[in-house]
């Protein structure tokens, strides 16, 4: 067989290769780019046994269909989307996200609509055999930088695979989708909150904004109450970060995402804290959001706790339970009280044990 790969047989709407960003070249004016929802990419990589920063496919709106041109491949999808497998001579089979699937040569992985968030991620065991540019496989479409000519996956494109076959072992799953939290998006005021009137800062922290239709990987135009500057909206251009909320002269804020320019000349009222960036990266046009101010120390603490939570979700990855059976490993790892396990061992009351495991996971099996 020729070099292993995935062939794009239907392109989808906007799927790009992304890792955790082209970090360290902003002094050249090079945007960082990278996954809008790094939590989902990290979990997809964990499911297939990759290092966290391995590049995957970021899928927006509607995913591509990928034909397996390898002996086999193990994939994982993390994010709220529909997917199915098309296998020669069989009816299409719906597949679940938040777990791995092992596909064979000739199978087509048809990635459908992303619903409930702007993006979802596909990771493949071993990763893609693509040449990094400035240390990264992230795609920055605006300047055509990154793998595949810096473009979204097009019809007929081929994603070469590092592995020619899936690793051994059973398929695994996340017990439940990651919890991104709710409530107002947390921000640290500044770096130029002093360029706004006190009333504007108060409005910003109390109003509800809506994501406008101009929403892409560069940023989200927000619609809501106008924010008044003290004097001009313009400043000498200075650095931007993912999460910067800049306000041009029209008073309507723009929340910058991963493909933001490295520097900009509009006053910035606040910055989304790093722990809430995956949440805002998942927002879609029409979504509502509000903001709450926290201090830098608090933001750093929230981030540290989030990292612990992510590590916990990764530790909880478990073998997929065969349909109708019970996974004793999962029961033990969930620290069920010995009495429950005794029920399984003593009475063989499998139905009861399954219900118990379902309750522990917070969702019906």
């Amino acid at each position: 067989m020729s070099a292993p790969g995935l062939r794009v047989v239907r392109p989808g709407l906007f799927a790009t290769i992304q890792d955790l960003g082209r970090v360290g070249y902003q002094e050249l004016g090079m945007p960082v780019a990278g996954a809008l929802d790094p939590i989902a990419l990290r979990l997809a990589n964990a499911l297939v046994g990759n290092p966290a920063g391995t590049a995957g496919v970021e899928i927006a709106l509607l995913g591509p269909a990928l034909k397996v041109e390898a002996e086999s491949v193990r994939v994982a999808v993390v994010g709220p989307m529909a997917l199915r497998m098309e296998r020669e001579g069989q009816p299409p089979a719906a597949l679940e996200p938040y777990r791995t699937h092992t596909l064979n040569c000739g199978d087509v992985l048809a990635l459908g609509a992303v619903t409930g968030a702007s993006v979802a991620y596909l990771a493949v065991a071993g990763g893609f055999a693509l040449e990094p540019f400035l240390g990264s496989l992230s795609t920055y479409v605006r300047a055509g930088i990154g793998p595949l000519g810096g473009k979204p996956l097009g019809d007929g494109a081929r994603l070469p695979l590092v592995r020619d076959a899936a690793p051994g072992g059973d398929d695994v799953e996340l017990p439940e989708p990651p919890d991104y939290g709710g409530g107002p998006v947390r921000v640290v005021l500044g770096p130029q909150d002093d360029r706004f009137t006190a009333a504007a800062v108060e409005t910003f922290l109390s109003a509800t904004y809506r994501v406008g239709k101009d929403a892409d990987r560069m940023g989200l135009r927000l619609e809501g109450p106008t924010l008044a500057h003290r004097g001009s909206a313009d400043i000498p251009s200075d650095g931007l970060v993912t999460g910067s909320i800049q306000v041009p002269g029209n008073g309507q804020p723009i929340l910058l995402l991963n493909d933001h320019q490295t520097a900009g000349g509009y006053a910035k009222i606040a910055t989304v804290i790093s722990a809430d960036l995956p949440r805002v990266g998942r927002l879609r046009p029409g979504d509502a959001l509000a903001f709450r101010a926290v201090g830098v120390d608090e933001a750093e603490g929230i981030r540290r706790r989030q990292e612990q939570a992510i590590a916990g979700w990764i530790r909880a990855i478990r073998t997929v339970r065969p349909a109708g059976g019970v996974d004793l490993d999962a029961l033990y790892s969930e620290n069920l009280v010995s009495g429950v396990v005794d029920i399984v061992n003593g009475n063989g009351d499998i139905l009861n044990a399954e219900n118990m495991a379902g309750n522990m996971n917070g969702r019906a099996s």
């Binding site: 360290g24 004016g29 921000v187």
Partner: protein, 244 residues
């Protein structure tokens, strides 16, 4: 918002902060930015991801999962030296430019607005050695100054949706070469036939913050010959480096 001396720290969330040395766009302020940028590169502070120099401030990016603002700011403060200026001067580049109304569609309009002939505008623009204050907007886009006061014009009220790559442009007291086709609001006065960004080079961006640039007027025939040379892959950008 802490300050030491006249240096001010502003906060960009829990991943970055800015060290501000002043309010305006001027060489002494920018020299202090570049000096701290150079010192922090050498210092290799744990958890510091990168520093990004801009006109009057240095953005310090850190990883909040690995360190904290408190620790990184203390390390940065230790590197701030009074009256500091970058130790080494940047490279000097000679960039060809064709001041032709066909290639610089605003040349005639902006000349008229300034009360100059296009020839006089080109002569003034080409007679100055410019300093690259910072890169931004797009990869390789250099903000260069200072333009002679006679050429100062606010940017266009209606930005263009598409500015061709290589366009030489000016706005305020600044000038640039657009490395990419992109939207843009500066006045287009000519075209530079050699690429300021080339992804096939190990370091794809020609200019660095702190470099200096002289524009050298070339006629249309010379310009077109250089375009052909670049297209054929026969152009060596090192030939643009002026020997000191």
């Amino acid at each position: 918002m802490a300050a030491i001396g006249d240096v001010r720290f502003t906060t960009a969330g829990d991943t970055a902060f800015n060290v501000e040395f002043g309010e305006g766009i001027d060489r002494p302020t920018n020299a202090r930015v570049m000096a701290l940028h150079a010192r922090l590169k050498r210092a290799a502070v744990p958890g510091l991801v990168e520093t990004v120099p801009t006109f009057r401030s240095l953005q310090v990016v850190y990883d909040p999962a690995a360190t904290s603002r408190r620790v990184v700011q203390a390390a940065v403060e230790a590197q701030i030296v009074p009256d500091d200026a970058a130790a080494a001067e940047g490279a000097l580049w000679r960039l060809p430019v064709c001041y032709d109304p066909e290639l610089g569609p605003d040349l005639e309009e902006v000349s008229a607005a300034l009360g100059l002939t296009p020839e006089r505008l080109a002569a003034l623009h080409g007679a100055t050695e410019y300093f690259v204050y910072m890169l931004g907007f797009m990869p390789g886009f250099g903000y260069m100054g200072d333009l002679p006061v006679e050429l100062e014009r606010p940017r266009r009220t209606e930005p263009r949706v598409r500015v061709p790559a290589g366009s030489v442009a000016m706005a305020g007291r600044l000038t640039t070469v657009y490395p990419w086709e992109s939207p843009g609001g500066w006045h287009l006065i000519g075209h530079c036939p050699v690429p300021l960004y080339d992804g096939t080079r190990p370091s794809p961006v020609l200019l660095a913050a702190g470099d200096r640039v002289r524009f050298e007027a070339v006629d249309r025939a010379h310009h077109d010959a250089l375009v052909a040379e670049v297209a054929a892959g026969r152009f060596d950008p090192e030939t643009l480096r002026a020997s000191a």
